[in-house]
């Protein structure tokens, strides 16, 4: 008798968060349909207005510490021969994801591309269909993950967090994310799950899969009470959204470990400040997350094995210097350091001091340093 009762309470709690979002998405979709429908009924050319995503309209917002869209708008009108096709694709995609959301199913970008063909709505290529998804995100002001369209790439999470599923067939079921030593895949089910119980007190995001496994083997999750996230390179948006949710809902600080080169540094930066590509979306970035290395200065301080920076690396560093997201003291200092030492190192470089060094020596020192 106890168990069902407990399950019931959790379920109500679940509805409050994930159902809420789902309902919001569905009602936005419906009002999009209603808008076009009423235009057509009044013998007007249907059109949709949305913020322009052209470079000129993307600004860095100091308050939210991310890129946002300015006040320029574009109109997609069926009256314009160049717009009618993308507009039709937009409405079709809308009705496609509406169905997905209703049935609690998920889809990938690739799926959308192929499904369109069944409706004689073929997209020229994947890029075109991805573009329409981005339009739909802009119009609905929801990330595609909210309407159940996920990218192919998946990253992973490991640690002492118990989640509760909301996806059909698994409603109410729970899982501890430390149950599988390879980590748990961050897919649609996990993204839509509620956080039931968390014993960790920090989140550590790691760029490389090898190091993620090392951290699990070295029991970093126990030693440091950490949730480990493998970003698998540039973190997918679902992962970035999850980090933000965990940081906010569970109140956990976030530390990001990447390779010591401009590209690794940017992986950390995108988790913190978001990307220009997603300027039309909110709640994907975690402004308070901290870049925890590997720094350029670490290459010198720890005498890490290193390679010279390539011309491309250096060009990238000069670009980052001008990027408003790199405005902070730490970023500036490290970019200068890179340009000074002209070398880069991978996270694995710490192995020269033994496999446990990074966990036993480097990590505690850095965490202490960052507070």
């Amino acid at each position: 008798m106890k168990k069902p009762k407990k399950a019931k309470t959790t379920k109500t709690k679940t509805s409050s968060r994930v159902e809420q979002k789902k309902r919001a998405v569905l009602s936005t979709l419906k009002s999009l349909g209603e808008q076009l429908y009423s235009q057509l009924s009044q013998k007007q050319w249907p059109s949709v207005r949305m913020p322009s995503r052209s470079i000129a309209n993307i600004h860095y917002d100091q308050n939210t510490r991310q890129y946002v869209l300015g006040d320029r708008f574009v109109k997609r009108s069926a009256r314009n021969i160049r717009h009618i096709r993308p507009l039709t694709q937009l409405v079709w995609t809308g009705s496609f994801v509406d169905e997905l959301a209703r049935e609690g199913k998920t889809s990938t970008l690739r799926d959308v591309f192929y499904s369109a063909q069944a409706y004689d709505m073929s997209f020229a290529d994947q890029a075109e269909s991805d573009d329409i998804i981005t339009d739909l995100e802009t119009v609905l002001e929801h990330a595609r993950e909210d309407f159940n369209v996920f990218p192919e790439e998946r990253s992973a999470i490991f640690g002492d967090l118990t989640i509760e599923y909301t996806v059909p067939g698994y409603e109410g079921r729970k899982l501890n994310l430390a149950s599988h030593p390879d980590g748990m895949m961050i897919g649609p089910a996990l993204t839509n799950a509620e956080f039931a119980e968390c014993k960790a007190n920090k989140i550590i995001a790691i760029e490389k899969g090898g190091l993620f496994t090392r951290f699990i083997e070295e029991r970093v999750h126990e030693k440091y009470k950490a949730l480990l996230i493998h970003t698998a390179g540039q973190a997918p948006r679902a992962t970035r959204a999850l980090i933000r949710r965990m940081s906010q809902e569970l109140g956990l600080p976030v530390y990001i470990f990447c390779d010591a080169d401009p590209w690794g540094m940017h992986i950390a930066n995108v988790i913190i400040s978001g990307s220009a590509n997603a300027a039309h979306l909110r709640e994907l970035n975690t402004p308070d997350a901290k870049w925890a290395g590997v720094y350029a200065s670490d290459i010198v301080d720890y005498k890490l094995p290193s390679d010279p920076l390539t011309d491309l690396d250096i060009k990238r560093l000069y670009e980052l210097q001008k990027d408003p997201r790199y405005d902070g003291k730490l970023w500036k200092r490290e970019i200068d350091a890179f340009l000074k030492v002209k070398r880069k190192s991978e996270q694995e470089a710490f192995s020269r001091y033994g496999l446990a060094f990074i966990v036993d020596k480097y990590l505690p020192a850095r965490l202490k340093q960052l507070g």
């Binding site: 419906k30 009108s77 709505m121």
Partner: protein, 519 residues
């Protein structure tokens, strides 16, 4: 061998036999083509002279020998022309250069030899006689079987009989055998017949080939151009030989009378002025001119200011008929024809007519297809040496007229003149004389301008159609999916919006274009 034999005078028939290349009888392939061509042209002329819409039947049948090389073939041609007076028939067909022409007229026959050369060639190659049947319309039809005595240039009549002519038939039938390489000549013969049909849209031409296949080129109109009139030679175009012949034929006793009677647009005043300039007494007897004086007159004629030749003697096809001919054979999407005003070169009047056509049976061939005609004869050989080819391919900038080489475009150039300025004795291409070239260029430009209007309209219409297609494809889908999204039962009607698509045109095109997402 006596001296007499060496300097033996050769007859006209003998001369042409020995020089048959000039007349287009070089080899069995070319010979059959020239034979058909000469006979068809004679028949057309015979009908047109009296405004009779021509009905021409040609049959070529295999008699003996090879079919994949030179063999013996039998030619039969029937027309409904004016016919030939029965007493002249033997000479008309059995004597080369019979009936000296001292007047000029726009005719098809390129040499004035016409069928004679064809019959001569047939006789030489197959040793057989020709059968000629003709009537000018009275109660009798005369039939002759004859051969040509080559050395004496005389007809030998083998048989002559008459048939009753109750139907008052007029026309000519020629039937004879000749050596031919038909298989190799076939494509050109068919081209020739089709192009003749283009330039004579008022003619019915029926052709039965050696395999019994029937080709029928049906007339599209009964309307015919006015018949060409005979005209006197213009002083500018007279050479010493013509002058000698005129002097021999003339009945005039004074130079003044001679000038007035035998030359185009020469009256009393002009004749007097001219004779004064040359220093000849107006009353001098032309028969007593010395060879030196004849040369002097001919030379002086080139520079004296005579009146320009009058083109009334020419028989152009006319814009309407040229369009009708092109339409009936090629059924193009667009056709137009343009006739220039008469002009003259070296004392010979000429008129240029040009047509242009797009689409239909014209195939794109990587360039403009050119059809050339002179005095209503198709010219099929040596195209690249012709003045029209030069104009169409080197002097016209077709892009300027929105035309491109991959389009199905054909240009038709017809030059008619009392003396077509052929470049060589082969008479297959026209010289690029500046006067002629200018007229052709101006005419081609005019029709090209009309074509470019058509092409812009076509592009415009294709654009409109494309617009409508796009809206027709997508707008119903917008309605369908938004109905689904809005959870409504019935789709809104998009027909009124679609109807307005073509009306509004481009008005809104530029309005919302500042968009385009850059990521």
């Amino acid at each position: 061998m006596s001296l007499q034999e060496v300097f033996q005078e050769i007859s006209a028939a003998d001369f042409f036999y020995r020089n048959r290349d000039i007349a287009g009888f070089t080899n069995p392939t070319r010979a059959i083509y020239s034979t058909i061509r000469e006979l068809v042209e004679n028949s057309l002329d015979a009908a047109e002279t009296r405004q009779i819409p021509p009905d021409i039947y040609v049959r070529v049948s295999h008699e003996s020998g090879a079919t994949d090389g030179p063999g013996t073939y039998r030619i039969r041609i029937e027309d409904n022309g004016i016919g030939i007076p029965h007493d002249i028939i033997p000479s008309a067909f059995g004597q080369v250069l019979f009936g000296s022409k001292y007047k000029l007229r726009q005719t098809r026959g390129t040499f004035g030899l016409g069928g004679k050369m064809a019959i001569l060639y047939g006789q030489i190659t197959t040793h057989s006689q020709a059968t000629i049947m003709s009537s000018t319309g009275p109660t009798k039809i005369h039939e002759y079987q004859l051969t040509i005595d080559i050395q004496k240039n005389k007809p030998i009549i083998l048989k002559h009989k008459t048939h009753p002519n109750e139907a008052r038939w007029h026309g000519t039938v020629i039937d004879f055998q000749t050596e031919a390489d038909y298989t190799r000549a076939m494509p050109k013969i068919l081209d020739y017949l089709q192009q003749t049909a283009i330039v004579a849209p008022y003619a019915n031409i029926t052709y039965v080939d050696p395999r019994g296949r029937l080709y029928r080129f049906e007339r599209a109109t009964e309307q015919m151009p006015k018949a060409p009139q005979e005209t006197l030679p213009h002083p500018y175009g007279v050479d010493v030989e013509t002058m000698k012949r005129l002097i021999e034929l003339t009945k005039e006793r004074t130079m003044l009378g001679f000038m007035k009677t035998h030359f185009h647009r020469v009256g009393r005043t002009i004749a007097t002025g001219f004779l004064q300039q040359v220093g000849l007494a107006p009353r001098k007897n032309p028969k007593k001119l010395t060879p030196e004086e004849i040369v002097q007159i001919v030379t002086a004629m080139k520079s004296y200011k005579f009146l320009a030749p009058d083109a009334s003697c020419l028989s152009p096809l006319g814009e309407e008929l040229l369009e009708a001919g092109i339409t009936k054979e090629l059924s193009p999407e667009f056709v137009t024809a343009y006739q220039r005003k008469p002009s003259a070169y070296a004392g010979f009047p000429f008129i240029v007519e040009v047509g242009i056509a797009y689409g239909g049976k014209i195939e794109p061939q990587g360039g403009i297809r050119l059809y050339r005609f002179a005095n209503k004869i198709p010219l099929l050989f040596d195209e690249a040496s012709d003045v029209s080819w030069k104009v169409v391919n080197t002097e016209m900038d077709w892009r300027h007229y929105k035309a491109s080489p991959d389009m199905p475009i054909a240009v038709f150039v017809h030059i008619c003149s009392t003396k077509v300025p052929y470049k060589t004795v082969g008479k297959e291409f026209i010289a690029d004389r500046p006067d002629v070239e200018r007229e052709v260029l101006n005419a081609v430009r005019e029709v090209a301008r009309r074509l470019s209007l058509f092409l812009s309209k076509k592009i415009h219409m294709a654009h409109d159609r494309h617009r409508l297609d796009v809206f027709q494809k997508y707008l119903p889908k917008v309605a369908e999916f938004s109905t689904k999204l809005a959870q409504k039962a019935e789709s809104p009607d998009v027909a009124p919006l679609l109807k307005s698509v073509l009306k509004h045109e481009k008005a809104e095109e530029s309005e919302d274009d500042q968009d385009e997402n850059v990521e």
